[in-house]
Amino acid sequence: MANERPDSKRVDQATGTEFVGHEWDGIEELDTPMPRWWVLTFYATIIWAIVYVVLYPAWPMIEKGTEGVLGWTSRGQLAQEMSVADQAQTTFREQLARVPIERLPDDSVLMQRAVAGGAAAFKVNCVQCHGSGAAGSQTLGYPNLSDDDWLWGGDLRAIEYTLVHGIREQGTEGTRTGAMPAFEGLLDAAQLGAVTDHVLSLSGKAKANPAGAEVYAAQCAVCHGANGEGDRAQGSPNLSDAIWLYGSSREQVMQQILNPRMGMMPSWQKRLDPVTIKMLAAYVHSLGGGEDFIEVAQDPETQVDEQP
């Protein structure tokens, strides 16, 4: 627009503003300046931007960006906020570490907080197998933790023990161990059918089968009990109740006798701290099937966990 330059000195009489020099059918454009507050705000944003670039990470380079003289990072801020959150929990975690798990139900506030903490930890560590509602999976053979049937015991202490030591975890001292032998080849077809019927009859799902009862007494009663009541010491399931870990159809039961599936659970003592395990135990216990202690430990103080 260089050729229109000379015109731009003309001044509009009504407003006292210079013309830009553009004209369309007699309508001319005025060179009205931006309002001063706008210009000042604009300069302020420029100054702000320069200060920001100096103080904060701003400029992308080849390897990494400029760091800024304040040394601020979003990761660092997260770490700081997390540490503040951890600090806020310290008192509670220390309290929880001091209380033996048998005494936990006596302190309802502590118990509630432990259950809440356990619910959070459960969602990170346990839902992969036991499901988000802790209902397990019959197809995959993961136990339901919400019902009132427990393979290894359902009081707080037993649950905590299972969490700490795991089930059939190789190389872990004290892990819960129990094995069901495979009866494939040991029983003929008639014996297998009969004992399956007998097992089903224990919970009223089939008619009594005397032949099966004989096989049961000889082969099964040692672990599962004369009436199928199970044995928690070795994790033998109760065969007389309504809950079946691997299914209650005749085929499923027969399959379990021939080639039994036995689940395993990792030991969590290496992955989680004792307080988190305690909170998990409290949460699982609270799901609705938790059992009371038959007898409270004589000297619970010996069970204090030193590490929060």
Binding site: A14, G133, D147, D148, A242, I243, G288, G289
Partner: protein
């Protein structure tokens, strides 16, 4: 507005009219005294209300009017409102709006003229002007004077008083949101929440600017209410009116003496313009700048009394009355003006909402239950073959004392219930829980029923175990393995 004559002024025409400060003259009269009274009353209500105490027992605050945002409670004397009862507040606001419609329909912009905070504070600041700088003429002179030390001192003093008033305006506002005595101590010892300081700072600034400097411009340019009002007024609404058929043509006393009979009653003394807090000339007719404060009526009546002419050249009158009066007919009685279908309809709506709110207030219960089913998993098969469902119950105790509530089951035959605090050994058809004062208690409830139970629905009934024996219930699904959903 003193609009400059664009066509006649020399130099380039101004497309933007700079604001001219209004220096209104002091006036005394019945309307000015009424304005004083309203000002004292409204300021008193504003400043004193948060300090009124109201005993609600040991579990609730003792401030009569308190908007407890943190705890989500709204206290107003004997009434305590929870968030789910916010319709009471909505109803009150609707009543306030319809009340405003009613007043506007009947007596015009009475709200604008007397009770609006902008009007009250502007009035207050104009009195400060008068107190520091003198009356109209002195102020106009000082405005035009160069910036001497004396003017700096006067301005400094005036703005300091402005700031002081503005600060107390903000300072009183925050008292409605926390216990006033505690907050006062906290505020001055630096212990109050940042939001308190920020609120005071913002309100100080807005009061200082809106009351000290913008004044009538807020009414003319910013406020939507004058625009909305024109939809509510008709020829039967009271307006401050200059009776031009009586006043025109204007002429000074001298001229009138020379040629009697040629001039109207208006002697063009400009008193009505000089006392106007918004700086308008009422003789130009009804206009948006007129807030109907009636100070011009006081001024004109005084002048008319001085020169021995009848009062009411400027007066509260309806357009219809004006027309009748100009035609020489007798004016309609005031009650006829006020009682007309529109005002009656507004009154009925206003009263109807008020009665409905009172009815709702009298009938509301202070105990509630809400029920939700925990659906992950929807049901649980127990080892004895029975079915367990779990529910989250929220028990609401809206009284300021702890109450025991009985939760009773209805529905599935043979069902029993226990909770997260009551063990399954104590499972029963009904359980009793204690709900703290003014709190909602969340209970996780477990319900076990035989597999062949007859009902797919379950109802939780609560009954407070006190003299009131208030009840409420919630019905929800009882899931079983037979469900196909």
């Amino acid at each position: 507005m003193n609009s400059p004559d664009i066509a006649g002024s020399p130099g380039p025409a101004k497309l933007y009219e700079a604001n001219q400060t209004v220096h209104n003259k002091r006036i005394d009269g019945p309307f000015r005294r009424f304005k004083w009274a309203v000002m004292v009353a409204t300021l008193a209500v504003y400043y004193i209300t948060p300090w009124i105490r109201w005993d609600r027992g040991p579990y609730a605050p003792d401030q009569a009017v308190l908007i407890d945002v943190a705890n989500r409670r709204f206290y107003m004397f004997g009434i305590e409102i929870w968030p789910h009862e916010f319709y009471f507040v909505a109803g009150l606001l609707i009543m306030a709006a319809i009340g405003l419609f009613l007043v506007t329909t009947a007596v015009g912009r009475a709200w604008c003229g007397y009770a609006c905070p902008q009007t009250v504070w502007t009035d207050l600041f104009q009195h400060v002007d008068r107190f520091v700088d003198g009356d109209r003429n002195a102020r106009t002179r000082l405005d035009a004077a160069p910036w001497t030390w004396g003017k700096v001192a006067r301005r400094g003093a005036k703005w300091t008083i402005y700031l002081f008033i503005a600060f107390w305006t903000g300072g009183a506002w925050i008292m409605y949101f926390a216990d006033a005595p505690t907050l006062t101590v906290d505020f001055w010892t630096g212990q109050a929440a940042p939001v308190a300081y920020i609120t005071v700072a913002i309100l100080t600034l807005t009061t200082f600017v809106l009351g000290g400097f913008m004044r009538e411009q807020v009414c003319v340019y910013m406020c939507p209410w004058p625009r909305i009002q024109s939809a509510m007024m008709d020829e039967k609404s009271l307006l401050v009116t200059y009776k031009d058929w009586r006043g025109e043509p204007r002429g000074s006393l001298k001229k009138a003496r020379k040629t009697p009979g040629e001039f109207g009653d208006c002697i063009d003394c400009m008193q009505c313009v000089q006392v106007c807090p918004t700086g308008i000339d009422i003789r130009e007719g009804p206009q948006i700048g007129c807030i109907t404060c009636a100070l011009c009526i006081d001024a004109c009546d005084k002048v008319m009394a001085d020169i021995g002419r009848p009062r009411g050249l400027i007066d509260y009158a309806t357009l219809e009355d004006c027309k009748a009066e100009a035609a020489g007919e007798p004016p309609r009685p005031v009650w006829k003006t006020l009682l007309r279908p529109r005002t009656i309809a507004y009154s009925l709506i206003w009263g109807g909402i008020g009665l409905a709110l009172l009815f709702a207030l009298g009938n509301r219960t202070h105990a509630d239950i809400s029920v939700s089913q925990d659906r992950n998993p929807p049901f649980m098969l127990m080892s004895d073959g029975s079915i367990r469902n779990s529910y989250t119950l929220k028990l609401r105790n809206m009284q300021s004392n702890p109450r025991a509530m009985e939760i009773a089951l209805d529905g599935p035959s043979g069902a029993v219930m226990w909770t997260d605090t009551i063990g399954s050994d104590d499972a029963a058809r009904a359980q009793v829980v204690e709900v703290a004062a003014d709190q909602t208690l969340t209970v996780r409830a477990y319900v076990r029923a035989p597999a062949d139970t007859n009902s797919r629905e379950i109802t939780f009934h609560i009954t407070t175990l006190d003299e009131e024996r208030e009840t409420d219930s919630g019905t929800i699904r009882f899931a079983t393995p037979g469900d196909t959903e």
